[in-house]
């Protein structure tokens, strides 16, 4: 089997397993997995920046939170908003925010970029935390889930846990395929070129700034998609969803899974949430479950030191071994 065949097969098997899961998993696990897939979209959007454009953003939670607030604030208070306009509105506001802040933050590099993206996310955090605009530190409830209607026919009922699960699964697969397509295009190659050697790209005639801005805006909009879905799932928004801890967590997911691959961040989101569940499971580790962050913290430190390529790196290593083995068998 060639590498591309193998990855296609893995993709289909994974999609199928996820599609079958609600049939066997309990409500709690279906909801947990929905959350994981939302975070997977979030992590993929950040990977576009970190893994493919070489932009280490430490403020990606801004888009996650902003989209949630757009849904909460623009939607009518006592009725359901339609997904048809509220989702594009949320993603559009995120894209606009990315465009405006991008014009500024993309002028900086390295450590500066990391800190300036962080600072802009913090600015947004305080906008919602300190003013009455978004209910202050208490946040806002979203009493009604958005509707998904064609005429009078409901395509899906988002109050239904399984329906919402399938919507999220569908969107996650769409985002994956969309990003794959984009990254394989001339535009995508140029982004990777910028990551590897920005100076040379500029000297070759690429308007590097515009490419980075386009990537930044796209990542912001997709981060907004994840944030919108999360707000729908939990039914409320508060400033915590745009805190810097959230930005830190999504970086952990990207690296844990393996940056610069698209399935890596998806794996990372799964591993991150499942580990968090494991470390805080009282039945398993008793008293220490209270201190679950200790386990998480030590784990993150170990990943930073010993697993720079993430889980995807491990998989690729196994993949190469398998290929080498096949080749040996073919040549007696």
């Amino acid at each position: 089997m060639t590498a591309s065949r193998r990855s296609l097969a893995l993709f289909l098997v994974a999609s199928l397993l996820l599609a079958l899961f609600p049939g066997v998993g309990g409500t709690f696990y279906v909801q947990l997995l929905t959350n994981v897939m939302i975070l997977a979209i979030f992590a993929m959007s950040l990977d576009l920046l970190i893994g493919y454009t070489g932009l280490v953003s430490f403020g990606h939670a801004a888009y996650f939170g902003l989209a949630g607030y757009v849904l909460a604030l623009l939607g009518p208070q006592y009725e359901a908003a339609s997904l048809w306009w509220s989702l594009p509105a949320a993603m559009g506001v995120c894209a606009l925010f990315a465009l405006l802040t991008g014009l500024l933050v993309l002028r900086t590099k390295g450590i500066f970029f990391i800190m300036v993206t962080l600072a802009f996310a913090q600015m947004l955090f305080f906008v919602f935390h300190d003013t009455k605009l978004g209910g202050g530190s208490d946040g806002i409830y979203i009493y009604n889930k958005p509707t998904l209607l064609i005429g009078d026919f409901a395509l899906a009922n988002l109050d239904n846990i399984a329906h919402f699960y399938y919507l999220v699964l569908l969107l996650m697969l769409c985002v994956y395929l969309l990003l794959r397509r984009i990254l394989g295009s001339t535009f995508g190659r140029a982004l990777v070129g910028i990551k590897v050697n920005e100076h040379r790209m500029q000297a070759l005639g690429f308007p590097v700034f515009r490419y980075k801005l386009a990537s930044y805006v796209l990542a912001g909009a997709l981060g907004g998609l994840a944030g919108y879905l999360a707000a729908v799932q939990f039914g409320f928004v508060n400033p915590e969803i745009l805190s810097w801890h959230k930005s830190g967590q999504v970086i952990v997911m990207v690296i844990l899974g393996g940056m610069g691959t698209l399935y890596g961040p998806v794996l990372g989101a799964f591993a991150f949430v499942l580990l968090q569940e494991a470390f805080s499971n009282q039945a398993w580790i008793g008293e220490w479950a209270k201190h679950w962050q200790l386990g998480m913290g030590v784990f993150i430190v170990l990943v930073a030191m010993y697993l720079p390529q993430g889980l995807a790196g491990l998989l690729q290593r196994f993949g190469r071994k398998a290929e080498a083995k096949e080749e040996r068998e073919e040549q007696p």
């Binding site: 500029q202 070759l204 005639g205 308007p207 590097v208």
Partner: protein, 253 residues
């Protein structure tokens, strides 16, 4: 003689007090290799950076094909038709030779912003990349990862990437640096071939190579041009003799 493709007038670059390039005026023509020589620190690389847009000049004029380009960013100057190679090899190490050239060629085409169609699908880009590899003598290394090439081959790739952008003017910053004698010979032949259809500004310390290819020489010392002319004229110039003998430099003119 035809109009120069590039012309500078009183081009100057100051770094907080230090004058790196001082009032340099020169002309580059298609079909001509114009070599800039001089001791280390004479301002040759800075001059290249001013012409390619890697650095903005402090004052002076740079005209490319009659158009003022002083202060333009490097990507814009590159798109106008100026290609440059770097003294320190500056390539995409994790990519294959072909992908390096393909990326360079891609910068020239209107497809560059397509987000939907696969990058390998554009025949014109691929052809440009193949031609550039061929011209630079790297076709046999097409699928090798750049990081695994020998030093000389990386220098060739540097040139190939330049060529893939279809420049009319080439700024070559020490293309022979660190090359063995055999590789050097090949590079000299390549520069000769290219000079027929390009204007070339060559910065080089290897004097044998310079005198083998250059149609015109400009000598810089301390940021200033002290002599300019045909190789024969420069060789016999008393100013140059004095500057080098007086400076005790290792340049053997």
């Amino acid at each position: 003689m035809s109009a120069p493709i590039l012309r500078t007038q009183e081009l100057t670059k100051r770094f907080s007090g230090l004058v790196a390039v001082s009032k340099v005026s020169l002309e580059l023509h298609v079909g001509e290799v114009h070599a800039i020589i001089g001791p280390n620190g004479a301002g040759k690389s800075t001059l290249t950076n001013l012409l390619s847009g890697d650095l903005p000049p402090t004052s002076g004029v740079v005209q490319f094909e009659g158009r003022d380009i002083a202060g333009f960013k490097s990507d814009r100057i590159s798109r106008l038709g100026v290609g440059r190679s770097y003294q320190k090899t500056n390539i995409f190490l994790p990519f294959t030779v072909f992908e390096n050239c393909r990326l360079a060629a891609q910068s020239r085409t209107p497809h560059a912003w397509r987000v939907w169609s696969g990058a390998g699908r554009f025949g014109d880009i691929n052809r440009l990349a193949e031609e550039a590899m061929e011209a630079a003598g790297l076709a046999h290394r097409r699928d090798r990862v750049a990081a695994t090439l020998s030093h000389g081959e990386q220098r060739q790739l540097e040139i190939a990437m330049c060529l893939a952008t279809q420049p009319r003017l080439l700024l070559l910053d020490e293309p022979l640096a660190g090359m063995g004698p055999h590789e050097s010979l090949r590079m000299v032949e390549l520069i000769k071939t290219l000079s027929a259809q390009h204007a070339i500004m060559l910065i080089e310390h290897d004097m044998d190579a310079v005198f083998a290819v250059a149609h015109r020489l400009t000598v810089m010392v301390n940021g200033e041009v002290i002599e300019s002319g045909t190789p024969e004229a420069v060789r016999g110039s008393p100013v140059v003799q004095l500057a080098y003998l007086g400076g005790g430099d290792n340049l053997h003119v």
